[in-house]
Amino acid sequence: MHILLQLEKPIIQRGVWGLLLWPYILTVSMPLDCKEEPGSLTRCPSISQEKLLDRVIHHAELIYRVSEESCSLFVSNSKINLCSFTFLIISVLQDKWLLHSVLMLVQSWIEPLVYLQTTLDHYDHAPEMLVNKTKWVSEKLVSLEQGVVALIKKMLDEGTFTTTYNEQGLFQYDTLPDMLESVMRDYTLLSCFKKDAHKMETFLKLLKCRQADKYNCA
């Protein structure tokens, strides 16, 4: 036993030092406050990828849940499944495509939701809960877009391409259509958005799963 110890002493020594120093390693690698070194951003880099992904997923989950609740607030007379302006993703094999499709989904929905918000404001008797929820979803969607952009920048090292917040928008708000027709259109919009939100959430969760275990994700 003692002889063995003598022979493998270097290895053991390294191992022991590694064991001893692990608290140091932890404290050093985890910048708790990002305030140790003034003026040096290298010590305090950006938010880690895992955290970004978690937050993005958190956003997507909440957006989906709230949009689902908003949909239920509508009295659904018709079940219109025409989600003509949804983005159908064909290939989801790569992480890159996942991220890009999520980004495209998010970006495509920002404006319609703003429009929905304005139409709801125009109603006289729209339920307040619905208005609040729609507003909240619209805000969080913008935040989600930023998050996905940051994630893409981190994961894929690509440039940023955030949407320019177009004030004018594609939709014209001058003409107010018939009330019922408008309500139906709003409901259709919201239900389609709900489906896309679910898609976003699923893609992001798949992405996260792949980060952990590449071959074990459904």
Partner: protein, 523 residues
Amino acid sequence: MLWLLLCLLPPVSYGRIVAQNNAHTERHNHEATGGTTTRPHIYFCRSPNMEDFTCWWHPLSNLTDGEEVTHILTYSKEKEAKLECPDYVTGGPNSCHFDSSHTSIWMVYCLTVTAITTHRNYTSKQHCLDVAEIVQTETPVNLTYNLTDVGGDEMGHNALISWTYPVPAHVQYGWITLVYELQYRRITEPNNWKVKYPLREPQVELLGLPVDDYVVRVRCRAQHSKLWSDWSATLVMSIPPRQSAGKLLVLILVTGVGVVALLVITFSIVLQSKRIKEYFLPPIPKPRIIGIDPLLLKKGNLDEINRHFSNFHSYRPPSYSEEVWDHVSTDDIYLTTPKHSSDAHNPSESERDTLIVPCNPAPLEVSTRHQLTALNPNSYMQNVPPYCSLPNEAFTPPLSIPSPWPMPEIVSLPRTDYSMMEHPSLSNTIPTPDLTFSTSPSPQDFYTCVQLLNESGEVHLVPCLPPPYCREFPPLPRANLDTAEKEEKKKTTNHQTRKNDGGNSEKSEAAVPLLPVAVDNSG
């Protein structure tokens, strides 16, 4: 030496981690102490809802009199350009507030405060932060308590403590998930806090609190954050000492039930005192002779009686067959005189022959044949050696002998098997039984008497006793036939017990059938 290092390093590193964690709490208290004065220092930043945040700094304090100083906070988000603080006012003096449009949870903020004086600028240390990491929620408010169980038990009372989060908008839609921690202690124990953690709901029920006064406080934090909110205002909760109504009720019930039970037992003892006394002190029985219970005889329990009497010598239980008794009337009865023996020989006669039973001491021949079997030639007689019945041959000798008194005749009913023996009516004086008969020597002074006549023609004969007994046959005058019959009728219709009595008495007299009684017995 290696082991020495091994022992030293972990505590040191742990100490460093702890120091980092305590830095935040220190920052908040730094204001009082003053901190470093050579340059400004951002000591605390917090975000209540992850949508906006505020940072505070210590201003430059090393000021000469009359010197003016302004502080400017600049920040940059990761690698972007530096920007100035958008709001210096909302957070109070020496603060910078970033509203939701200026807050991003996707990037790290690095802030710097610069103190500009007339002479020079003092730049503080850069402070970088991640907005999601500095989330410190609001302090819970409206801490109240309710005693849930009014009755209470030995352990004490249960108290339901509840509070509210002051800004519900932060937690709506699940944006922030809160975790609460509650601490309580007795007033008399200042440092013995009991902790309830983690709590997801803004309420908790404390069970089994002993009677005392308690101090309660609560705080919360965002689930993903490490920062706790401040402690809420302490609540003084007093558990009242109270006589539990439940205990009293139970006591009353138990005593009531006990008293009622005691009364019932007493009454039952008093009423049944005699029986109880007899049970415990049984009375000494009076002397009694073991014998037949008269009740047995009344009830007609023949089996019992037979059992009792079987102890006696030569007792045979009477066998009672079911016979049909016809009502006897005088018209039906034909009295036949003893016929000539020659007539008796003829078994073809439809009518039954009568038998004469003389009770004279003359020895008679014993014969197995008898005319009574006319109806049923197959019947036979039991083994009774001496007869009272007389065979044909034996008929003549008795006829030759003058009977001192009228010979008893067997009266038979033509249609039935009923027959009785009787003496013909004696118009003459009944000659007194002459004991002289007994003087004539006869080695076999046996007579048989018909005891029983069955339907099948079977005749049960029993030996007659010597003449003294035969003399005892009560002579029945013809005129008295009806009465005798009536008597017998009466007797037959009487209870079985009387028959039994007669039978018993007869049996006790060595099985000598008295004629009327014999008839009875034949029933």
